[in-house]
């Protein structure tokens, strides 16, 4: 695979620049409400109609965790997290800097199974909302129960944010008294979601971080797909 010299861009670059310029001085608080775009990493949708045991036999060496058929379960591997999406459908998200070869390895491992492995790295944009008011902001537009008893650290849900479909993931926060939510949204809806979250967060003194560095995780899929 040749090295990529072309520049990649976040679809949010113009909006992030605009909103960052509107940040107020709240950034000097110890734990401000912060909205950032996560750096791009590999994301793969795995669909498979095979016994879990057989799938895990070949996938566990790659994921260092297991697919689970428990709804809304998140399994954390060394280099990735695996989200249960629907029956027989999972989303694998590489940790930053760990994208290399993920799609290809999954394709190789599942050859011969009734399965599909689809690169959706650019399909989703990930927004990270963190800080004490994060839950309140999302509750403005999300009908899912986000109370810590119902949506503890580590929980995820496919739900709605205002009028956009999202995957919401309650990531362990850096501070015990804080909350960190990952919001996966289709890239074409990302600016809508970003601006909506920003507007919702004004009440809580939200700050927006500039666009993430696009360099670290280039896409790893060959556009030709697995077999051609």
């Amino acid at each position: 695979m040749p090295e990529i010299t072309a520049t990649s861009h976040s679809i949010l670059e113009p909006a992030l620049a605009e909103l960052t310029a509107r940040n107020r001085s709240a950034a000097n608080r110890a734990d401000p409400l912060r909205l950032v775009e996560a750096p791009p990493t590999a994301k793969v949708i795995v669909r498979a109609l095979e016994p879990l045991e057989a799938l895990n036999h070949v996938l566990e060496p790659i994921l260092s965790t297991r697919l689970d058929d428990c709804p809304n379960k998140v399994s954390i591997g060394k280099d990735c997290r695996v989200f249960w999406l629907r029956v027989n459908q999972w989303l694998v998200i590489a940790e930053p800097g760990r994208s290399n070869g993920l799609v290809h390895s999954l394709e190789q491992a599942l050859t011969g199974f009734d399965s599909s492995v689809v690169d959706v790295s650019d399909y989703y944009t990930v927004l990270e909302l963190s800080g004490p008011g994060a839950r309140d902001v999302v509750m403005k537009g999300c009908p899912f129960d986000l109370h810590p008893r119902a949506f503890p650290t580590g929980a995820m849900a496919l739900t709605r944010l205002a009028q956009a479909d999202i995957l919401l993931y309650h990531r362990p926060a850096h501070r015990p008294d804080s909350v960190h939510l990952d919001i996966l949204v289709r890239s074409s809806f990302a600016e809508y979601a970003l601006r909506w979250l920003h507007d919702a967060g004004l009440e809580y003194d939200i700050t927006v971080a500039p666009a993430p560095d696009q360099i670290p995780d280039p896409p790893t899929i060959e556009a030709s797909g697995a077999d051609s």
């Binding site: 072309a6 113009p14 009734d114 403005k140 009440e203 077999d227 051609s228």
Partner: protein, 1007 residues
């Protein structure tokens, strides 16, 4: 403007719950002072102002009547700013703040001198149904009548400018929602909170306590409860929060008034004015208490006539003595407490008029001790005082309820405080279709059983009047609700009972729905619904005119309508209707309560989903480039797509013409990222496509693409697009931009429900890929400059093939050699993060070939020149492939969705509408899309048979004339014939031609 004497009715020795801080506000242009903690109503009463408005129909002077949400009279317009002013606010619920500016509504020019007060002189001409009878004919004048009536009956003025306030939403979930923060609600919250439940306690007032706020001895009890609740993390206690509706599955709507009670300069900048909470509760407690109902008697609507409980509320909560010479009229014990408290507060003389002949002795003794005169077994036969009540006339009643022959007496007063009993607030229970029963003791409706589907009525709302019963009922029902949630409430001991005036909490009510009067029947005016000016006589009229159902009586007389929805008048109206029909109230039933309990602002329901958040705006990865280069955008579903790229000074039409010429003569580039894309993978993928599409797919070679049409089960064209075979078991499908989600759901449904045996998987990849489509004679040259390792030569990449590799410096890409313009086309697909880089490099590489970005309007024009259809423009759900002359895309050798429908008799009619080309005789005339196509000799007057309509119409710069596509009956047989197209004011002659206008042989495509 002179400042009024402040607080002339405020008692020096008590302030109730008010603070010391003086608040200045304006009412009807007068500068007034109140205390922080006052409602507008309590502040006005403190200033001796009762008369605050005029009635809806007769424009009679009306005063503050209640102390809460039930207020029928004291509706005010708050604010002067045309964007912020709000009508129909209840003065009893508006909290005053510095600078508040309120005025009476329904008065012109002023409260004191109102032109329409003349209506009251002609009141006999305006009974119930007046409008229906008077404004019937001529029917065409209704528009004028309605305008006049609306003005005459206006309930305040709507804002004239967009609302600048912020409104917001919040979704919440809880184990237990408790509606109402009075004694029952506070006890319920205490028990549920200690049991560890997730509790939301909501009260519509600015503080908790409910009915106990009228009880001077309960302050400490309330404070103890509230501070205990505040210490619990699991309890969310909301004040100024009205639960306005109860819906299925214990879903509740609540509006929290967040900042509107604050002066504008103290409102946090981004905090919403109101917040609409959507609450999903596992169980809910309805602790909504009771609302007092008035007595109905002759001239019972004057300013200075108030509900007895309200008078007591103003006294104890706000330290306001609503009158110094009060009369208390009642049919039950509760109002006696008002009399006692007024006497103790210094009012004198105090008179009690009780319609009962034998009120309890213990009350009589206490009245006597306080020097209160008691007139038992008396009726109120009339009142005097146009702007404020001055006196009442009373007369003894016989045991049978008729007036005694003698004993009429007139008593001076400045306050008439009335009580006809108490109605449990059962609205939410009724919203949930909970069954109601008539309680004889209360003479009112109560829940027929304690709960309906997880909503439990407790305390006053369940019909309890004694504080001990209220508390015990709330405690036991709450424990039961918690048990339903699987929560154990055992650790909490018996709840503490607040100390209230228990002498009067057993009502001993003797219902009397309309007090007898000695006034002549023709002159009698006893108001049942104060807000809608409905009298007892109006109800009788409705019955006489044949409206027997209470629902009909309600609609004919408008009783129970308006902003208060009859909270004080409904049950009384039922009593009067029942009396007239000589039936029992339960036999005639109750009108239905529907949400909202009190009016809800549209702003709260909309929240932030307006303006730029009205609907999501979807953007492509190249959007910012289009913006920078002056694109004019159009909305395609939720997407923003460039329509064309007008240069400075260039009109859109000219830009479209320029871009369309450029594609035919040089090369153009279109952002096609919005196309729906579906990855289909699995050994049965080809078989699946074979069933979905009308044409054959099994033999499509890897590396090739094919155009496909899919039909609904009705045989009508549903979507189309090009699908490529990536591998034996792997396809890349494209759909129309607008159809992507529908097609994805359609495919999943067929796979999951009909053909689960087919081994394949589908994944939407629309947003994964950015798409740049090169088209034009120069497309191949430009493509060749962009690729790293892909051969785009004629032999290596023939029409309808695709190749994978890298472009623009290592970007992984799929290139599809397809065309929607009739020109050679190369569609570059790259991961969307590289869309912008691809686009910019293509623009740079194409500059020497005259590359021109083009928009959707140009794409539409170019395909129309070629007669290619657009699903949704040239089709409308009634069009088959045959109608579109596309039999070539329909296989005769296999089955597919919709095939059987294609052979129904109607599908084989020879005169079905078919797609044809239409050319105007005058090449400069561009037809209107949607215009009707008629026979050349069609009649100039209706009926005019319609032959079809124009579906697409453009001016073609490449043909130097206008072109149009249309669906025309028997269209193909009409080729060469002449028809006309109706433009609405003109008929344009056209010729029916083939639908392919440009390069019919398709030679350019393979160039």
């Amino acid at each position: 403007m002179r400042s009024s004497r402040p607080d002339n009715a405020r008692l020096a020795d008590r302030r109730g719950d008010n603070h010391d801080r003086v608040v200045r506000f304006r009412f009807n242009g007068r500068n007034l002072e109140g205390l922080e903690g006052d409602t507008l109503a309590s502040a006005l009463l403190a200033n001796g102002i009762h008369w605050v408005g005029r009635s809806f129909k007769y424009h009679r002077p009306r005063g503050i009547f209640s102390a809460g949400a039930e207020e029928p009279n004291a509706l005010v317009q708050v604010g002067d700013d045309p964007a912020l002013t709000e009508p129909n606010l209840r003065a009893t619920q508006v909290e005053i703040h510095e600078g508040l500016n309120a005025r009476s509504q329904n008065v012109q020019p002023s409260l004191q001198f109102d032109l329409q007060a003349i209506n009251d002189l002609f009141w006999r001409l305006m009974p119930a149904g007046f409008y229906y009878k008077t404004f019937m004919a001529p029917a065409r004048w209704w528009a004028l009548y309605e305008h006049m009536i609306r003005r005459a009956a206006g309930m305040g003025e709507a804002p004239a400018a967009p609302d600048p306030d912020r409104y917001d939403h919040r979704h919440e979930h809880c184990d237990l929602l408790i509606v109402g923060g009075g004694p029952a609600g506070l006890v319920a919250a205490q028990i549920a909170g200690r049991a560890g439940a997730r509790v939301i306690l909501a009260d519509e007032q600015d503080r908790f306590g409910g009915h106990l706020l009228s009880e001077p001895g309960c302050r400490q009890w309330i404070d103890r409860q509230v501070s205990a609740l505040e210490a619990m993390d699991n309890v969310t206690a909301l004040t100024r929060a009205t639960v306005f509706g109860a819906y299925h599955d214990n879903f509740f709507g609540l509006v929290e008034r967040v900042t509107e009670h604050l002066p504008p300069d103290r409102r946090p900048r981004f905090a919403p004015r109101q917040r609409f909470w959507q609450i999903r509760a596992r169980q809910a407690i309805m602790a909504t208490g009771m609302i007092e109902r008035p007595l109905v008697f002759h001239l019972n609507d004057r300013p200075g006539i108030m509900l007895a409980g309200a008078v007591r509320r103003y006294l104890h909560r706000h330290g306001v003595l609503a009158g110094r010479r009060p009369i208390i009229a009642t049919n039950n014990n509760s109002a006696w407490q008002t009399a006692f408290d007024l006497a103790e507060a210094g009012a004198s003389p105090v008179t009690i008029v009780d319609t009962r002949h034998a009120p309890p002795d213990r009350l009589r003794e206490r009245a006597e001790a306080l020097g209160i005169e008691v007139l038992a077994g008396h009726s109120l036969t009339g009142t005097r005082g146009r702007r404020h009540i001055r006196s009442v006339t009373v007369r003894p009643m016989r045991a049978n309820g008729e007036l005694a022959a003698t004993g009429s007496r007139r008593i001076r007063c400045d306050l008439l405080s009335v009580s006809g009993g108490w109605n449990p607030v059962i609205h939410l229970f009724s919203h949930r279709k909970g069954p109601l029963a008539f309680d004889e003791g209360l003479a009112s409706f109560v829940p027929a059983r304690p709960s309906v589907a997880g909503l439990h009525a407790v305390g006053g709302a369940a019909g309890h009047t004694r504080i001990g019963e209220v508390v015990a009922d709330a405690a036991s029902r709450t424990r039961q609700a918690l048990a339903e949630c699987g929560l154990d409430s055992a650790p909490f001991e018996r709840p503490e009972t607040p100390e209230t005036a228990t002498d009067t909490d057993t009502l001993d009510l003797e219902p009397i729905w309309e007090l007898p009067t000695d006034a002549a029947p023709a002159r009698t005016r006893a108001f049942v619904d104060l807000q809608n000016d409905v009298t007892a006589k109006d109800l009788a009229l409705a019955l006489n005119e044949g409206y027997t159902s209470v629902e009909h009586v309600k609609r004919y007389t408008t009783t129970g309508m308006g902003t208060d929805q009859g909270k004080t008048g409904n049950v009384t109206a039922l009593g009067i209707v029942a009396d007239h029909q000589q039936r029992a109230i339960p036999a005639i039933g109750l009108t239905t309560f529907r949400p909202p309990y009190t009016p809800v602002t549209i702003g709260a329901l909309v929240g932030r989903n307006s303006g730029r958040f009205l609907a999501p705006v979807r953007k492509t990865p190249m959007h910012c480039w289009h913006e920078r280069h002056g694109a004019a955008f159009e909305d395609v579903g939720q997407w923003k797509r460039p329509l064309c790229y007008p240069r400075p000074g260039e009109r859109e039409h000219d830009a479209v013409q320029r871009e369309a010429r450029a594609v035919r003569t040089a090369v153009g580039m279109l952002d096609g990222s919005t196309l729906g894309k579906i990855d289909i993978c699995g050994p049965d993928a080809a078989e699946f496509l074979n069933r979905i599409y009308t044409n054959a797919w099994k033999k499509l070679a890897v590396g090739r693409c094919r155009y496909g049409v899919m039909l609904g089960e009705d045989g009508m064209v549903m979507d189309d697009g090009v699908t490529a075979r990536i591998a034996d078991d792997h396809f890349h499908m494209t759909t129309t931009t607008g159809g992507a989600a529908r097609v994805m759901a359609w495919l999943e449904e067929w796979h999951q429900t009909e053909w689960p045996e087919l081994k394949l998987h589908m994944t939407s990849v629309t947003d994964q890929w950015a798409v740049a489509s090169l088209a034009g004679p120069g497309a191949r040259e430009v493509a060749a400059r962009l690729v790293d390792d892909i051969d785009v030569g004629r032999e290596a990449m023939p029409f309808m093939s695709w190749a994978a590799g890298h472009v623009c410096g290592g970007i992984p890409a799929r290139i599809f050699r397809i065309s929607f313009s009739g020109e050679p086309g190369f569609e570059f697909n790259v991961p969307s993060r590289y869309g912008l880089a691809l686009w910019e490099q293509a623009m740079a590489a194409g500059s020497e070939f005259g590359i021109t970005p083009y928009g959707t309007e140009v794409m539409h024009l170019l395909r129309a020149e070629k007669g290619f259809i657009i699903v949704g423009q040239d089709t409308d759900g009634t069009v088959t492939p045959h109608d579109l002359n596309m039999d070539w895309v329909v296989s005769g050798k296999k089955d597919f969705i919709g095939r059987r429908s294609l052979y129904r008799a109607d599908m084989l009619r020879p005169d079905r509408k078919r797609l044809v080309g239409l050319t105007t005789d005058d090449p400069s005339i561009v037809l209107e899309e949607g215009a009707h196509v008629l026979a050349a000799d069609a009649s100039p007057t209706p009926p005019v048979p319609m032959l079809g309509h124009v579906t697409s119409s453009y001016y073609s710069p490449n043909l130097n004339r206008s072109i149009a596509l249309g669906l025309v009956k028997g269209g193909l047989d009409r080729k060469g014939t002449r028809l006309v197209v109706d433009t609405g004011h003109d008929r344009v002659p056209v010729e029916v031609v083939d639908s392919v206008f440009f390069d019919p042989e398709g030679e350019r495509l393979h160039a």
